[in-house]
Symmetry: C2
Subunit: 342 residues, 2 copies
Amino acid sequence: MTAKHTTQNRNVTLADVARLAGVSAKTVSRVINQSDYVSAETRAQIEKAIEELGYRPNRVARSLASNRSYIIGLSLPDVTNPFFPEILRGVQQEALQRGYHVLTYNTDLDMEREKQGLALLEEMRVDGIIVCTMRLPDDQLRPLLQRHRAVVLVNRVLAGNEAGIVRIDYFKAMQQIVQHLVDGGRRKIGYLDVSRSVASYSSTERFGGFQAAMAANGLTVNPDYIRRCAATIEGSSEAARDLLTASPELDAIICYNDVIAGGTLEACAALGVAVPDKVAVTGFDNIMFSSVFKVALTTAHVPRFELGIRAAQMLFNRIDGDTTVREMLLDTELFVRQSTPH
Amino acid sequence: MTAKHTTQNRNVTLADVARLAGVSAKTVSRVINQSDYVSAETRAQIEKAIEELGYRPNRVARSLASNRSYIIGLSLPDVTNPFFPEILRGVQQEALQRGYHVLTYNTDLDMEREKQGLALLEEMRVDGIIVCTMRLPDDQLRPLLQRHRAVVLVNRVLAGNEAGIVRIDYFKAMQQIVQHLVDGGRRKIGYLDVSRSVASYSSTERFGGFQAAMAANGLTVNPDYIRRCAATIEGSSEAARDLLTASPELDAIICYNDVIAGGTLEACAALGVAVPDKVAVTGFDNIMFSSVFKVALTTAHVPRFELGIRAAQMLFNRIDGDTTVREMLLDTELFVRQSTPH
DNA sequence: ATGAAAGCGCTAACAC
DNA sequence: GTGTTAGCGCTTTCAT
């Protein structure tokens, strides 16, 4: 019985509503889209019919007919990384305010899936997409984006392209971190980077800021002090252990992000290395948990929620045909906690 | 120029491909759906035409015509909570294997959004949905689910409904935690619960297991030892401080989940309370960071990835008309770390 | 193995 | 203010 009821609803169509209300399909359409003036009387008729039949508009048909979905796509590399969910929340807040919905596609750090996701979103004819991608090389990404009506890229630069860009000034943020450590008396500074097949905007900028600030302080970047690892607790813990064992003279380790810093703190604890007395440790991002790590983490706070909002605003401007703002740069804030001298 | 190219692609249709390949629309359809045998020769023709025109099928049209989307919806309450992204990954892995895509809707712990999300997914005519909901009361949830073709509920029971259910045995898991603490000599055990407008499956079962195990060990549950707080570091930290100040005799605090345990550890540190020597602390879920908290956390590992896989499998069975398995119960595993005596 | 015609449920562009 | 006529781009019958 329940099942039958379900099936019934499924087939209720705009025409059914029109018939019951004694009006034309178009008038019903006007009501559900609030697109045009309908007399209060007919409107009431129609709303009653909708209620009675349990009618729900079919977005698929609407989308096909109007070539407009009021849905935007969001491609995320890894929802498991606490960095990204906050972006989603920002995007969603802005979208809902404008009557759009957000559909998220998780690419799981896989290039193939990234392509699949962008293709799917295209096949669904979403009105625009916000893309957080790390892996896909420029020349593979570009044609995929080209096929979309409106695109905003997050933390990625891409030349020869129509896409809008919202990004964080990672370079400057990392310079601040280095300066903070140097001001705290540290000189032998290691760097635990994330391993990547392709250099990403994030890793390039962060490492670039590190190098620049080291040079500005007359410090040399010792290649032995640099390690790469997976952005997981296990991977970074192991890498940090290696690094600290090979170079016990280190007095600071800068980590690509908070997750890697978490692993580094674990390694320090395991080796009996005091943080920050012997070695200072810094993270990046300021994820939710960085304050409850073994040692509360000094880190660069990345305004992820705001990043999502800005990206969405830029996308909606583009959907509405306004492409004047091409790029947007947001600042971070240094959060000093217990893992560095201060 | 780029824009023109984009516009061109957008309008390439199956009919265009058919025309160029010199076949009928239906034959092209057969090729892109691999639904029927087509001679190798014509297939090659068609593939060449597709390539040449840069054709991409329009899912919207396909979905309207076939009443099938090959998309499943996943409704999550809060992607920011590290509990949920892993479920998404499991669902997605299973879905991609079967040629489906997953669209995620984040409800942000808001009842209205939860309703909106389920309605949106219905309007999109997805083939089925997996719902992780906490807030929506039974009688509001039921009619919304009824309108969907196939439904699987995660960690929620709901009577009088066609939906499949996959859940975790939280009751038993919490019993194990209590037993572990009692075996470690603890008797004055507090409980830091999550605050909710409505009692959820998770909170009810976890607290129920706590009560049952306390009783089984001849221990009374002191109402003063129970607090509720938001599932954030800040909220739980404050609540834990209150609890420890009001009841300094406590020798253990059981937390609803790892996030709350994280705040509790912070409170202990701030108050100079030794963990686990003075007070043992337990979490729940085993999120990625629970091992790098101030004190490595003893917690119940919830197999979230597998949960996602099972939920997806159950959903696909239902989509295929097989509803024999109505419910599925998964076990947790106790991870003993430094925050409890052992 | 392939094609023709009809229609999925809606909106656009004009009527009136 | 409201209705009519065509499609949107695809998949379904059913033919052949």
